[in-house]
Symmetry: C2
Subunit: 403 residues, 2 copies
């Protein structure tokens, strides 16, 4: 069980071990080794931030070279903005694990999260690797989800069952992330595994499909991380035939289950957004195309004025309209725009709906979860972005993070 | 004198009167009438927010129809998001002033600033107009600058002298603005006047030139207002010949003086940004073109993580790098990027400069004013954007604004 009160299912073929390397945090685990059974397939997506971290570069290289057997994850230090020294440190940490397991260095994918610009203390990682290996266990998911946390206040885990090849299969995932969240490919570290057997091309496609409406549709503060990574592993340990047909019901069942796990993790990240008190769905309909819908949704979701109004539970809808108006939509007819908070219509024909009463808006704004719905009246495209409010605690957490 | 300790010079041909209409604030003036001498020329730029306020629409119409004699400005209510009723209210408020001065309605330009989405109380404005007219005086600048404030904590004024047509001339301006500041044409209400005589085309060009590096290069929170407007008036009362030659030294002297006044006002707005404790120049050099330079500068200036680090006086430069990296610059070579805080080089060749010591960064971050300088190493374009930090008080001010 985890804080979302869902049972977390072990994934046959996957073992996880956590240990304390003392990288930044005292008295807690900060190092995770995830072991993938021989023959596992692995797909991954990474940050598009040009200043991507050293482990992202190394993980990409290793993934291109061979099939991974281990993921090595540390929290407390991002190993980003560290230049050549950082690349060397990422490879050295892989080497420490490779030596202990007698495998090749490029069979290990490194991941880091934490403060940017500090040298990675490879020695401490090397010392803690044997402890993590000793702790390897199929039920290691929750301990691992805790070990990869930074400013997160809760571990984030999700599991689903599905049937493929006539076998009962599982998908389980964990993620971390709370600030610097505006994933541009995946989020700050998410690891999802299934025991189904999946052909590489289908596995990658399944991941991309799952990531688009989940990790790639959330934002806490608009700051895309340097270390974003999402990995999907298929161990094949369930024993069924490999899923190779894009049109098969097996592939569809897999895709649905992976998408559900990713969405549950993405929601958990926003709900645990730094200082967040509210989970907000920004839903934009009637756009000319998806790009336009996303531009409007993110402009609302990133507006500090909208986010502070959400924190205050103040139905200050003028700020939402102002955000729509500055989203850069060419030729927007403001008379066609509608604005709703949940089921309450606030704006119609470019002005306040005659039937709107402040109490109704106030009621929705007081909720822990709510939907801001904007109808543009231009076309058929729609999108949903998940975000949270901007509170005193966001400022506190980020003003105090290093000190 | 004003809080910036500069003498504020009256502009021959301009009189200002303030009064209390009780629109939102008690015990203070919230209505301003600015009278322009017969024959004055007027240029203006307005917000590009699609949800522009009713007074913006009406002011644009009136300006196109004839030469204005009066500006009518209220604070406490933006008259934005108010639909047809808002347009009617804006015209009604002009009518009240037109009746009192026996001029045409379209000789009056209306301006509003304050909360969005509330009906404008025209009756209260009409009642207070005679008081404002009684108060008309050439030295009314400072009282007017105070009357147009909303969340501003100080009035914003600036004056310069220049010589044109062999005459000593003056430029004086006032502005308001503190939050919802990311002007996309001009800022939230700025009024600049000179007693030089200037041909209309030159006056407009002078305004556009002055606005680009001042009001159009500042951001507090990235939220473009619905009511942004900047007006430049030339009364001609100095008595010199009209400036008609683009190449003349008179035009250059005028342009320089207006640009200086606008920049002083723009800096004052950012310095008084909601909750701001620091004034920060983000300077980007070595960009392929101006658009690229601006994209990088605004990504840094809008990053909540950079802004909270500034508030904390924490030289957490990894957040600045991460912002550069996510600015969407195609093919950015991170090894060519340099990052400086004032005269302290922090990043070179994609990693921490070997000579960098945390104390040096700490010293700069502790200052009230500082420059973040990013060299992209791609080309010759550069830009400077002014911004401020993100503090607890920004959240408090915007969580409490309506309640």
């Amino acid at each position: 069980m985890n804080p979302q009160n869902e049972p977390i299912l072990p994934v046959p073929g996957i073992r996880l071990g956590s240990a304390a390397a003392g990288i930044k945090y005292a008295d807690r685990n900060d190092l995770v080794v995830m072991e993938l059974a021989e023959g596992s397939r692995c797909a991954a997506v990474f940050t598009r931030n040009a200043f991507c971290a050293a482990p992202v570069t190394v993980a990409r290289e290793h993934l291109a070279a061979t099939a991974p057997r281990y993921l090595l994850i540390n929290s407390g230090n991002a190993n980003a903005g560290t230049g050549d020294e950082g690349l060397r440190a990422a490879r050295e940490s892989c080497k420490a694990l490779a030596a202990a397991r007698a495998c090749a260095i490029d069979q290990i994918l490194p991941f880091s999260t934490g403060v940017i610009g500090e040298p990675l203390p490879v020695d401490r990682i090397a010392v803690a690797v044997p402890d993590a290996l000793t702790a390897l266990h199929p039920d290691g998911w929750e301990a691992a989800a805790r070990a990869i946390m930074t400013t997160d206040t809760v571990p984030k885990l999700a599991s689903r069952r599905f049937t493929a090849g006539g076998r009962e299969c599982v998908v389980t995932g964990m993620a971390k992330g709370s600030g610097m969240i505006r994933p541009d490919m995946a989020t700050m570290l998410a690891y999802v595994a299934t025991d189904a057997a999946v052909a590489p091309a289908l596995l990658h496609s399944c991941l991309k499909q799952a990531v688009a409406p989940s990790f790639n549709s959330i934002t806490v503060d608009g700051d895309t991380s340097t270390n974003d990574a999402c990995v999907l592993v298929a161990t094949g340990a369930a024993g069924g035939p490999e899923i190779i047909d894009w049109e098969s019901s097996d592939y569809q069942a897999l895709t649905a289950a992976v998408a559900e796990v990713c969405l549950a993790l993405a929601r958990a990240i926003v709900k645990d957004g730094e200082g967040a008190t509210k989970l907000v769905e920004v839903h934009v309909e009637g756009a000319t195309d998806g790009e336009e819908a996303r531009r409007v949704a993110y402009t609302i979701a990133h507006s500090p004025l909208v986010k502070t109004a959400l924190f205050a539970s103040d139905p200050n809808w003028g700020r939402i309209l102002a955000a729509v108006g500055r989203a850069g939509i060419e030729g927007l007819d403001i008379r066609a725009v509608e604005l709703w908070l949940d089921d309450v219509c606030i704006v119609r024909n470019g002005g306040r709906d005659p039937g709107y009463a402040e109490e109704a808006g106030q009621r929705v704004m007081g909720q822990d979860e709510l939907t801001i719905r904007v109808l543009l009246g231009r076309g058929a495209a729609a999108t949903t972005v998940l975000t949270c409010d901007l509170s005193y605690d966001y400022v506190r957490i980020n003003a105090e993070y290093r000190t």
